[in-house]
């Protein structure tokens, strides 16, 4: 059920400040696309425009088109709540609901939509936790609070929560930046498994990570501090890391700046 995302001419603003400028790209279904670039280049902002989370921040607004297969996410009459339900998101820092148990965290999205018979729910929770490689670690304490888990486990819990509603696309905003190397590895393995079912977009600061997990990589940059971020190029990950077509990409990847 994974879908293709087609972005054309997209700019995003915070109030009067233009954070990203005129971005067009295609995200292929059932693949992992990584966004890399220096801090402040707008890659996270761009990610948040893909499920209409950008407009939640005060003053946030978007121009341009984001087509999910053949529907424009910013078209008239499109319900942002449904958009977010269709395009899941995992955040930089693990954010399980502190007052809910592990089970309830995973079930939270399903319960919102009401399709929640107890037996089905048990099944979906188990499937999602298995899908997030967390089941074996938590199956005996599903009723304990999610905040009692380690950072890496919490992040996998958040992934389980996101995939439980069977979204078509999964957005990940630096999902490993708050985790230790071992937990990071676990998440990267998980991303490799999930891409057979979902279209995945991941923002990362870590170029090795982009090289390890992604099929395609997009490089973002900004001319100077205060200028809007731009998409420099997007290509197969292998090409970006071996033979990029833009000099700036090569400079960034070889560590000359950023």
């Amino acid at each position: 059920m994974a879908k293709r995302i087609d972005v054309s001419g997209l700019s995003a603003y915070y109030g009067n400040f233009r954070a990203i400028d005129d971005i067009s790209m295609t995200v292929e279904p059932r693949s992992v696309t990584a966004f890399i670039g220096p801090s402040g280049c707008g890659k996270s902002t761009f990610l948040r425009t893909l499920n209409r989370m950008h407009e939640v921040t005060t003053g946030g607004r978007v121009e341009g088109k984001v087509m999910l297969d053949d529907e424009d996410l910013y078209g008239p009459g499109v319900d942002p709540v449904s958009v977010r339900r269709t395009i899941g998101m995992v955040f930089q820092r693990p954010n399980p609901f502190p007052t809910m148990s592990i089970y309830d965290n995973v079930a939270a999205g399903l319960r919102l939509n009401g399709d929640a018979k107890k037996k089905d729910l048990d099944e979906i929770v188990e499937r999602s936790l298995k899908g997030a490689n967390l089941w074996n670690e938590v199956k005996d304490r599903l009723n304990r609070p999610g905040s009692g888990l380690s950072g890496g486990q919490q992040q996998r819990l958040c992934i389980a929560r996101a995939i439980a509603v069977e979204p078509q696309v999964l957005l990940m905003d630096e999902p490993c930046s708050a985790l230790d190397p071992i937990s990071t590895l676990a998440i990267e393995d998980l991303i490799g498994e999930l891409k057979s079912r979902f279209t995945i977009v991941i923002v990362t600061h870590n170029m090795q990570q982009a090289a390890r997990v992604s099929d395609r990589t997009a490089f973002f940059n900004l001319a100077e501090v205060g200028a809007p971020g731009k998409l420099i190029e997007i290509d197969d990950t292998e090409r970006i890391f071996s033979n990029p077509s833009v000099q700036a990409t090569e400079d960034y990847i070889s560590g000359r700046f950023g």
Partner: protein, 333 residues
């Protein structure tokens, strides 16, 4: 809730090398000793005042209660100036509790609503000035609320009273036979309006601190704005709202002048909340003070002591909840 934090015992003082020398040896400079003595003395003065309040009120109250010929806790009479004196706090306790409950029932949901309005619904340009206005309203003196209540609110409530009598009169709680609306119910409404700003302020502060991360998580799952609030803001802010309500309750229980101006008191407990009559601890003190002889004053002090203890319990409960919440949120930080 920045104002509720305990003193920074470990914070600013810990790394200061002079500290140990100050208390222990006394071999330090004269200036230091004097200054420490002054500041410690002030702190001790505060403790002494608190102790004195408890001691003197209890002492006078004990004198009065010993002389009381009626049961202090259950009697409906208040003839403290008679010989022998007969007085009891049953009517006052009833009135205080009932009017405060009405105030809480009316004010807390509305205050939570306004707090959510300011923290999550109002456009930013409206939210900041609104916060200021609520701050200012919290500073309006209670006598002004009392004046407004007596001269504006009371005449405007008769319509509502008739309506309540017509449709809810069968419950017995809301029968109304005309006359000025100077009842415990009006007191409850006025107290609700008075504590609204303080409950709103504290709740708003708590809601504003609710973690953005969890709100975004709920949004990203496809939650509507209300569902976001149900999933992440309200669970986070619940204990804060409870303690805000307790602080409001403490104010309502001890409010004097606004009640004294609005209520038409009597030493009777009426079944109908809309009938004039009843009284509260604070109102009775204000109303009965000028006519009171020496035994009368001691009797009023005894009723004041009861009020003091009740407000202490309520405020203590509020502090406990705040302290517990701090541990809880600290563990998750």
């Amino acid at each position: 809730m920045a104002t509720e934090t305990p003193p920074a015992t470990a914070g600013p003082t810990a790394p200061q090398p002079v500290k140990g020398a100050n208390g222990a040896k006394g071999a330090t400079r004269k200036g230091d000793r004097i200054f420490l003595g002054l500041s410690r003395g002030s702190g001790i003065t505060l403790l002494v005042i608190m102790a004195a309040i408890a001691v003197f009120l209890t002492w006078r109250a004990a004198l009065a209660i010993n002389a009381d010929e009626a049961s202090f806790l259950t009697s409906f009479e208040w003839d403290a100036n008679a010989t022998p004196p007969r007085f009891g706090i049953a009517v006052l306790a009833f009135g205080t509790v009932v009017s405060s409950i009405i105030a809480m029932v009316l004010a807390v949901p509305i205050a939570v609503g306004i707090a959510l309005f300011i923290s999550h619904y109002a456009p930013r340009k409206l939210a900041t000035p609104l916060g200021y206005v609520i701050d200012l309203l919290a500073a309006v003196p209670s006598i002004v609320y009392g004046l407004w209540g007596a001269l504006f609110l009371v005449p405007h409530l008769t319509g509502l009273y008739e309506w309540l009598d017509q449709y809810l009169g069968w419950t017995g709680l809301f029968t109304y036979e005309g006359g000025a609306a100077r009842s415990l119910f009006t007191v409850g409404i006025l107290l609700a309006i008075m504590i609204l700003p303080i409950v709103t302020n504290v709740s708003r502060e708590v809601f504003r601190q609710s973690p953005k991360m969890q709100e975004e998580a709920a949004l990203a799952l496809g939650a509507t704005r209300w569902e976001v609030i149900r999933m992440s803001v309200l669970p986070f802010g619940r204990s804060g709202v409870i303690s805000a309500s307790m602080l409001g309750l403490g104010r309502a229980l001890g409010e004097t002048m606004a009640v004294a101006t609005v209520l038409s008191p009597s030493f009777l407990i009426k079944a109908s909340l809309l009938e004039p009559g009843g009284g509260t601890f604070a109102q009775n003190i204000a109303a009965g003070f000028k006519e009171a002889g020496s035994m009368g004053r001691d009797a009023l002090i005894a009723s004041g002591l009861v009020l003091f203890v009740i407000t202490l319990l309520v405020n203590g409960a509020a502090r406990l909840i705040i302290a517990r919440r701090k541990e809880y949120s600290g563990a998750n930080a």
